[in-house]
Structure formats: structure tokens, C-alpha cells
């Protein structure tokens, strides 16, 4: 086994995903199969290979920089328009700090 149900619960916690017992069972099986396939990468000796950190880049390092100028932004109303709960110009969430 590459991954146990206990590890699946731990990863779900890291990913902020609430899963049902059935989903955890299913994911343990699926992830185990996929991780076993992924192990084939260990056949390759990559000790002298540089990781590919950039897909391709065709310009000077600073080519994407521009003058820092003020530009109109989206605005409060539009930015909040899709919020499930908003008020007084803010996103509203369940209480975080007790007072």
C-alpha cells in the first residue's frame, strides 16, 4: 500500500476537503493505484538533470515590468458581487476570533 486511509484523512485536512467515509475509501484505492504508477519515474536516473522551472521565456528578465502608474481597478461593488455573503464593503465569514 502506498497510502493508508489515515493518510488520506490527513491530506483531506490539508486540502480543506470534507469527505464522506465512502469517498475516503474510494480515494485510498484510486490514489494508491495512481501513486504506484507514478513510482515508474524512479526507473529514471535524474541526478544530473536540472528541473524545468520555466516552460519557455523569450524575452529579457525585466520585459514584463512597466512604470508604476495608477490605473482604475475593479472597484468594491463589482469585486463583492459574487460573494455568498457580503456587508459594509467586506466579505463576511463565520466568526474567527471570540471576544
Amino acid at each position: 500500500m502506498k497510502i493508508t486511509e489515515k493518510e488520506v484523512r490527513y491530506v483531506a485536512d490539508l486540502a480543506n476537503l470534507k469527505l464522506t467515509g465512502e469517498e475516503i475509501g474510494r480515494l485510498s484505492k484510486d490514489l494508491d493505484e495512481i501513486l504506484t504508477h507514478i513510482d515508474t519515474l524512479n526507473e529514471l536516473d535524474t541526478s544530473n538533470v536540472q528541473p524545468m522551472a520555466q516552460v519557455l521565456y523569450d524575452a529579457e528578465e525585466n520585459a514584463t515590468l512597466r512604470e508604476d502608474q495608477e490605473r482604475p481597478c475593479l472597484g468594491n461593488e463589482l469585486a463583492l458581487a459574487n460573494a455568498p455573503l457580503a456587508g459594509a464593503g467586506y466579505f463576511k465569514v463565520p466568526k474567527v476570533i471570540e471576544r
Partner: protein
């Protein structure tokens, strides 16, 4: 109007241009007919999730005003376009095929959408896709699968299944899709249309909902190579809203379609021809014979890292996806499941909102990035990705283009692979390499199986050589009579 109603499902961009110029129809008339036709045909495939008639008619009126005033209405004037529903449209619902975004109305337009409309294009509506573009069959949409217009019991491919189906069905002249591991080319192949994944950075991703940022591309689908080339021409080019968009000069793709492919050196990667369904292999072999007849020099090449591509891809793509999808937390994007605490609210929202495939990929991505595993998985995959890119670099020193299958088999039956995620991932083998290397690649129809299922042939070229790719595909399409 008669010209439209009889042939609306097979219109090309050129025919729209000529029809408008000859006053056979106005842009508003064409748009109305196209919307009516698309709405009537849609129950057969479920290709569109929703239509945008107000926006379409407003754009069509603008085209008609320009035509009436004798102004240039643009290269796409009046052309009905469908957009995959992962590309944001201001004021028009954009769901990404997810329950989580069922009610999401974007406050801005993607750059590609702005450019299409500036060129006179008419956005008819948004097309179905696998949830957040994750899938190879379009069965992962929260709004039901898409049926292949050629064979309704079969999948259209994915994730841009709705866009490919709409173009094949004739309910749009052209469409945009997105490709992260084959999501434009594979559905194009399954539905018998042209699908293009341009060079990484060639088209701005501003307004493309992010799945895996080092792999995501926007690309066109069309019934002819010439139409796909023209759409890419319009949406390509540097955009200051996407710092990964390329500065490379933009050639005239349509002017390059001159049929001059004699002497083109073509490589057939041996690793791509093992394990092909026999009819698919036969059709590709026939296609290669046709290219030889057209004067291409064909030789076998090797891309030895190919067998590691699926493993490499499903580490990198899921790692990036787990990070990109963290934003759907119940705070900003329409859906929230109520809970007492903030962290319970996040968990409940995401647990209820994401479908099974998204959860699987978020979990895999989070796992490979979690403490202690980074070197073993993500770093290893980035190194293997470098080897895959190096394979292509070496190959393109010897050949001008690579020809390969798009998928191991034609469209499979709905439900056939849904319970076996690894099997589904492995069928992406021939398309994910192009995304990993960031090179341009496309699917062009190359015939049908005895059961009438379309098969696409893949053409891959050097970075930014879309010109060579289109020239070859166009000559092939014309010689084989494959234009839809």
C-alpha cells in the same frame, strides 16, 4: 436568409464574410438563425450550457452598423463563436462545469474574448466541459455529459467536449477550448474537427480559469485548418495582463497556407505507435502515406522519455491544480455551505461543491506537495519534464515536424472508463507530452473507422512554429478531402 437556413451547420468564416459582403444576410439575421439552430440542436448533445443572446445580438448590430457605413467590420465579422465555459465573460455566467460556480457572473472579460469581439466575432454561448477542465470524456461536468454528435452513445472527448461537439454539430462556426493535457486535441480528434494547442505563452490566459498554470493553453477548434489559423491569429500575441504571454512576433498564419510542404522532414516517434488500436494505427499510417505523396520526407525518430509522461504530468498538473483551486473556499465565489467555524465552512463548501475527479486531483496534488514528499514527487517530475522537453529539442534538430496519433483509440462509450481513473489518465499519453514541452501541436482529421468514428492525426512543431504546423495540416486536409 435561405442561404443561411440551408447551410448554417457547415458555414466557414470565408462564407460568412462573403454572405455579409453580398448582403445575402445581415449579421443580426445570421446571429438569430444561429441561435435558433443551436438551441434547437442542443438537446441532442448538451454541448452548450447556456446561451448569450443579448450579448450576441448587440455585437451583431455593431457589425451591421460597420458594414452599412462601409467600415471594416473585422476578419471575424458576424462569425458565430462558442466559448468553453472556463473562459470568463463579463456579465455572462461562467460555471467551469462546476456546481461551485453555478451562479458565478464574472466582472470582466478574458483577453481572448475581447480580441474575438473586436474582430467582429459573435459569442453565441458557453460550452460544457469537464469540471475545471479536468477530464478526458466530458463526463465530469456537473451539468451532465456531452454526447458525441457523430455517435450519441459515445463521449465527445474532454475536457473541451462541448466546444468540439458544437463545431462538429455545426452549432458554432468556431470555438475556443483550453488544453492542459490534450483537452483541445483529443475532443477534436473524437468529434472529427480541427483542434489547436498553440505554443505556451502564444495566447494570453488572462480570464482563463486556472487549472495548471505551467500547462494551461487557450486554443481554437474549427471545421477547417484555415479557420483555426485565422482564429489563432486574432487571439494570439502579447498581453500585458498575462506576464507569461510571449513577446515573439506574430506571423501571418493564413498567408502561410500556401501548400508548399514538399521536402518537409517529418518524424514518426516510435514510442507513439506501440499500443494503438489497430484501426487508429491504420488511419494514421494512411495519413503518413499521403504526406509522403505530397513530397514530405518521413523518418522514424525516438522520444525515449515518453513512457514517463503520464506519471510526470499527473504530478505537476495536480500539484498546480491543488494550489489554483484553493481559492474556492466559500468566501468569494457564490457557493457556501454554512458551518459554525471558518475552517468548517471551507471544508463543507469544498466537500459539497467539487465533483469526484476534482477531489481526486486536489488530493493527489496536495499529497505530492505535502511535507517530506516534495523532492520525491514534484521535483522529480520537473526533472522528468526537462527530459521530455529535451527529447523534442533533439528531435527538432533532425525533423521539421512530428506526426503522431492523438489518442490510442477513437471515441469510447459513455460510462466505459469512468470507474477507472488510471486507465482514463493513461489514454492521455500522446497529448500530454506537447503540453509538458510547451510546443505547438494540433489534431487534424485523418479519416473514419469502419464504424464511422473520426480519428485525428497529431502534428507537433518547434516552439512558435505554428506557421509550419498549419501549412502541413492545411495541405494534408486539402489533399485528403478532410475539411468538415
Amino acid at each position: 436568409m435561405s442561404a443561411i437556413s440551408s447551410g448554417i451547420a457547415s458555414l466557414t468564416i470565408d462564407q460568412v464574410r462573403k454572405g455579409l459582403a453580398a448582403r445575402e444576410f445581415s449579421a443580426v439575421e445570421l446571429t438569430q438563425s444561429a441561435l435558433e439552430f443551436a438551441k434547437a440542436e442542443n438537446p441532442k448533445t448538451n454541448a452548450y450550457l447556456h446561451f448569450s443572446p443579448e450579448r450576441a445580438l448587440a455585437a451583431a448590430e455593431q457589425v451591421d452598423r460597420k458594414v452599412a457605413a462601409g467600415d471594416d467590420a473585422g476578419p471575424l465579422a458576424g462569425v458565430p463563436v462558442a466559448l468553453k465555459d472556463v473562459i470568463v465573460t463579463k456579465g455572462v455566467r461562467t460555471t467551469c462545469g462546476s456546481r461551485l460556480l453555478e451562479r458565478y457572473i464574472p466582472p470582466y472579460d478574458a483577453t481572448a474574448v475581447i480580441r474575438l469581439e473586436q474582430a467582429g466575432g459573435i459569442i453565441l454561448g458557453k460550452t460544457n466541459c469537464d469540471e475545471f477542465a479536468m477530464g478526458s470524456s466530458n463526463e465530469n461536468s456537473a451539468f451532465g455529459p456531452v454526447k458525441n454528435p457523430v455517435a450519441p452513445d459515445r463521449v465527445p472527448g474532454g475536457s473541451s467536449g462541448g466546444s468540439a461537439a458544437a463545431v462538429a454539430q455545426g452549432t458554432a462556426v468556431v470555438a475556443l477550448g483550453s488544453d492542459t493535457g490534450g483537452s483541445v486535441r483529443q475532443p477534436a480528434s473524437f468529434c472529427g474537427v480541427v483542434g489547436v494547442t498553440p505554443t505556451y505563452g502564444r495566447v494570453s490566459r488572462y480570464g482563463l480559469v486556472a487549472f495548471a498554470s505551467s500547462l494551461d493553453h487557450i486554443g481554437p477548434l474549427a471545421r477547417t485548418v484555415a479557420d483555426a489559423a485565422l482564429v489563432l491569429q486574432i487571439i494570439a500575441g502579447r498581453d500585458e495582463n498575462d506576464s507569461t504571454s510571449a513577446f515573439a512576433p506574430l506571423p501571418d498564419y493564413v498567408a502561410a497556407l500556401d501548400g508548399k510542404i514538399k521536402g518537409t522532414r517529418i518524424g514518426l516517434p516510435r514510442e507513439y505507435f506501440e499500443g494503438l488500436a489497430s484501426e487508429t494505427g491504420d488511419l494514421i499510417a494512411k495519413g503518413v502515406e499521403l504526406l509522403k505523396k505530397l513530397g514530405c520526407e518521413v523518418r522514424e525518430i525516438s522520444l525515449p522519455a515518453t513512457k514517463y509522461a503520464v506519471a510526470c504530468y499527473y504530478i505537476i498538473a495536480t500539484a498546480e491544480a491543488s494550489s489554483n483551486l484553493a481559492r474556492y473556499d466559500g468566501v468569494r465565489y457564490t457557493s457556501r455551505a454554512e458551518a459554525e467555524t471558518l475552517s468548517d465552512m471551507y471544508r463543507a463548501t469544498r466537500g459539497a461543491g467539487f465533483g469526484a475527479e476534482c477531489k481526486r486531483r486536489i488530493m493527489l496534488g496536495t499529497y505530492v506537495l505535502s511535507h517530506g514528499y516534495y523532492d520525491a514527487y514534484y521535483l522529480k517530475a520537473q526533472k522528468v519534464r526537462a527530459l521530455i522537453a529535451e527529447d523534442f529539442r533533439k528531435a527538432f534538430a533532425e525533423v521539421d515536424a512530428i506526426v503522431a496519433p492523438v489518442a490510442p483509440s477513437p471515441a469510447f462509450k459513455i460510462g466505459e472508463k469512468i470507474d477507472d481513473p488510471l486507465e482514463m489518465y493513461l489514454s492521455d499519453i500522446y497529448t500530454i507530452t506537447g503540453d509538458l514541452a510547451g510546443i505547438p501541436c494540433m489534431s487534424v482529421p485523418c479519416g473514419k473507422t469502419s464504424a464511422g468514428l473520426p480519428v485525428g492525426m497529431q502534428i507537433l512543431t518547434r516552439h512558435f512554429d505554428e506557421t509550419g504546423m498549419f501549412r502541413l495540416a492545411d495541405a494534408f486536409e486539402k489533399a485528403g478531402g478532410f475539411a468538415g
